[in-house]
Symmetry: C2
Subunit: 526 residues, 2 copies
């Protein structure tokens, strides 16, 4: 991972000329000046304050060199990248500890609790909500707990269950499962770098979670090392044994303890991936089609419906842009389809079932005015599915403020929320686009992308837009996050979502499992 | 509901002569002597100790007559019925309060917390784990909080969501939903009397939950009145906003507060119910077929696979017994099927989809040796699906110890657990039968029925058998309960399942939401 941005240089791809020109028109002014990041050694770090007791006890698994500290100082949010690029970090871990086993995690937590050292669990470091922000809280020092060495894989094929170490990256887990003909089916945009532990700790959703289920649906068991002790819940298909303790630890974002193993439901690896595009007359018509498909059990495994603005932007800039975008425009023109919303659907599984499911869904799509575009837009989307963060890096080089945020709500409230958040964002950014990417029987997610030219202090600019959107979300019945998690960025809004008494219940659990308050300070609940 | 047993006299049906004869052979000795319960007025109750402050404040919603107190003194477990029938209750509520609104619940909790009065939420009163046991705990008095008047219904058809009052009985909720072409799809054996609040508070599963989902899968939101305040989580299709607070309150069994409203996912009412029977060569073969169907997305909505012992018992005694049972025996004889396991499958939905799903599943069933018995056993099962508790009443009249318990585990552990629990029970009862009734991708439930002649103190006899089974369950990797909940009966085993640290986390939530410890003392965690 590039220390100042996303991914590696080999996979970066500069924006096409026509895309840049289109964006210049939308945002106003030239985007031709490129400002790169400072050099790694120019990033200023405070001297390490790690107590000698911790340093001496864990010397073999400790790093505190400049690069290790920088690489664990931030996630991959827009503000994180602004700070990294300018070398002006707010904070950095005093050291990085990389335990190799559950017992070593326990030992680290014990020592840190005794020495008053905060612990920030670190998986892939891809948080976009400051979830791995190296905050000290009330502690004197802070370590980043890199879980990369916890990468066990134990597969119970008969029970379609995998016990996975939290440090496994998405591709590593898929490779191990794929060798047995299985898949987790969990492909968030961060897939290439994010970790299994991060998925579970942040309650993430993958692009195909409409079909395979969100990570919270897949968790059958887990092992948590907390400062107060261990919670070991073996895999269980279902239980009525009291309050949902598994679900309470899923989404706890490292504030209660460290997930050292998770048991996840896995599926048979699909024989076929059939991904295709449709154009629907409007965002509203597309949403109605998706609602009907899901409620009647006819849903594809992936559904991604762009609103009119995102459709225009996609055709001009993103995966289906360039030559393909122009061809698509010509094709639509020839078929007398103007404007409208782009819909990508993905069907996965055994070939005959894919065909039967698709055949059952097509009449519903047609009834809502969907015009088939064939598999080309689907293949283009698959090819570019992890590419968004690279594009962000390029745009940031050119002084663009580019950010995304997501929410979810019931179907009956979807367009009220869509308009409210869109209106709030348009006061801060000229280009606001949205898509529905996860569909449920009772509602759907909304994922907003917004762009503006950087103006003034980029962090202040970000704060104002983010606050406006978050206020609009909680005021209009959305959840503060559908799959990015809470971290530090959403923490001020979480209490408004769960209420004072709900927050008090969560704090009581925190106080019980982490009495010294060393676990990931400042996240979830302020 | 008959105060001493289940249901009402109009629906009781005495066991057939041939069934009694068969049972006499299995259990040894005559079952012809019938001992009925004492008269209602013979049930001994202690004088009410309700503080005057509570009595004066809630006179309009209070009852403390003999019948009301007896009717709220017990659930419908075997020990409950033993105590009711002999008139020897351990405890009774000092009064019954029936609030008519969320605000009235809040007022009751406030007054009871101030006066040191324990509160036992009471829905349908059908708990089989002493979940509505009127224990005082450390309080001076105890009230039963009858939620029958909280029976609001607000339907959001577009979002396939219903906001339901906790006091609605199963049939009331289904009637309201059915009028709009919808169903909750939740049909536990207690359906005719159990309440919506009870379903959610106990994390219940219905007979068709393999298709419609357990109640925990259906909860989208809820409102909880706790002594410390209110937790109001509006319906939300999905969220990544921190630990699972909804799931933490689901299954809290009245120990944290009172559910005053729940938002549940509902489905389109099925056009067709296709229920049918199969005979499979063995319990093991049937389980393999169900595992394959579920893991490959071909599962029916209801699957109920009896082991060989339950198959024999069903044919002799239960829903498919009598003339039908003998005809079935003759039919199987003619087809040279001997012994084996009875499998009932139910398919619900739109007629064409039912046909297509069934057609896709039949090859898998045939491959595992299933022989079709047609729809007659399916119809018989549907007809008798709520009848078990009536049969229990009749058998108890005849001095039979009859009890059920359930667990679940991963597929890879299913037969280890099956043998361990069966072996433990056979040391206490000559007749032990089992079925799989809920199927998941990673595992399945096991539901045991066991019968013996009552011997010595029936409560001691029960305790010994129950403890042996529960020990076997936790020692062999099962959950202490798949859908009956924890209540008082399973509380000693819950800590073994969730561990000391897990239990401490749950206690911390309890202490936060119910600082005076008035909510349903003695349940969940001892």
């Amino acid at each position: 991972m590039r220390w100042w941005g996303w991914g590696d240089d080999a996979h970066a791809e500069p924006p096409a000329e026509h895309a840049l020109a289109w964006l210049e028109g939308e945002l106003g002014g030239s985007l031709r000046e490129v400002r790169r990041h400072v050099a790694l050694e120019e990033v200023a770090l405070p001297a390490s304050r790690l107590p000698a007791a911790v340093r001496d006890a864990f010397g073999t698994i400790l790093r505190d060199d400049h690069e290790a500290r920088v690489r664990h100082a931030a996630g991959r949010s827009y503000p994180d990248l602004v700070r990294l690029r300018t070398g002006a970090l707010e904070a950095a871990p005093d050291a990085v500890l990389a335990p190799r086993s559950h017992d070593e995690v326990v030992a680290v937590l014990r020592a840190c609790a005794e020495a008053g050292v905060a612990v920030v669990p670190f998986g892939g470091g891809t948080s976009v909500v400051a979830g791995v922000d190296p905050a000290r809280g009330a502690c004197d020092a802070v370590v980043s707990l890199d879980l990369g060495a916890l990468c066990e894989v134990v597969i119970d094929e008969r029970s379609r269950t995998a016990l996975l170490g939290p440090g496994l990256r998405g591709p590593e887990a898929e490779a191990a499962l794929g060798a047995r003909g299985l898949t987790l089916g969990h492909f968030p945009q961060s897939f290439e770098y994010a970790s299994i532990g991060g998925f579970v700790a942040t309650r993430s959703a993958g692009q195909a979670s409409t079909g395979y289920g969100r990570i919270d649906d897949l968790v059958l068991g887990l092992r948590l090392a907390a400062p107060a002790g261990e919670v070991h819940l073996p895999p269980m298909p279902a239980t009525a044994a009291g309050p949902g303790l598994r679900g309470l630890l899923v989404g706890s974002e490292g504030t209660l303890g460290v997930l050292t193993q998770v048991a996840l439901r896995v599926a048979r690896a699909p024989q076929e991936h059939h991904y295709e595009g449709f154009m629907v007359p409007s965002f509203g018509a597309g949403a109605e089609a998706l609602r009907e498909l899901k409620q009647d059990g006819l849903s594809p495994d992936l559904a991604r419906l762009s609103d009119e603005a995102e459709t225009r932007m996609s055709l001009a800039v993103a995966g289906t842009g360039g030559v393909k975008g122009r061809l698509l425009g010509a094709y639509l023109g020839a078929r007398h389809v103007r404007g409208g919303s782009l819909l990508i659907l993905g069907w996965e599984g055994e070939a005959e079932r894919v065909r039967a499911r698709r055949a059952a869904a097509l009449p519903v799509l047609r009834r809502h005015g969907a015009a088939g575009l064939g598999t080309s837009p689907g293949r283009a989307w698959l090819k570019g599915r992890y590419h968004g963060p690279y594009l962000r890096d390029d745009l940031m080089d050119r002084g663009v403020f580019v950010e995304t945020l997501e929410t979810a709500t019931q179907w009956s409230n979807l367009f009220t929320l869509y308009r409210a958040v869109g209106d709030a964002l348009r006061r801060h950014a000229p280009l606001v686009a949205c898509h529905v990417s996860h569909v449920y029987a009772s509602g759907a997610s909304l994922y907003f992308t917004f762009l503006a030219r950087q103006e003034g202090d980029p962090l202040e600019q970000w704060r104002a837009a983010k606050a406006a959107a978050c206020d609009a979300i909680v005021e209009h019945g959305g959840t503060i996050t559908h799959h990015h998690a809470v971290g530090r960025d959403h923490a001020p809004w979480l209490v408004r979502e769960v209420g004072e008494t709900g927050a008090a219940a969560l704090r009581a659990v925190k106080d019980e499992l982490d009495p010294a308050g060393i676990m990931n300070p400042g996240k979830l609940l302020p």
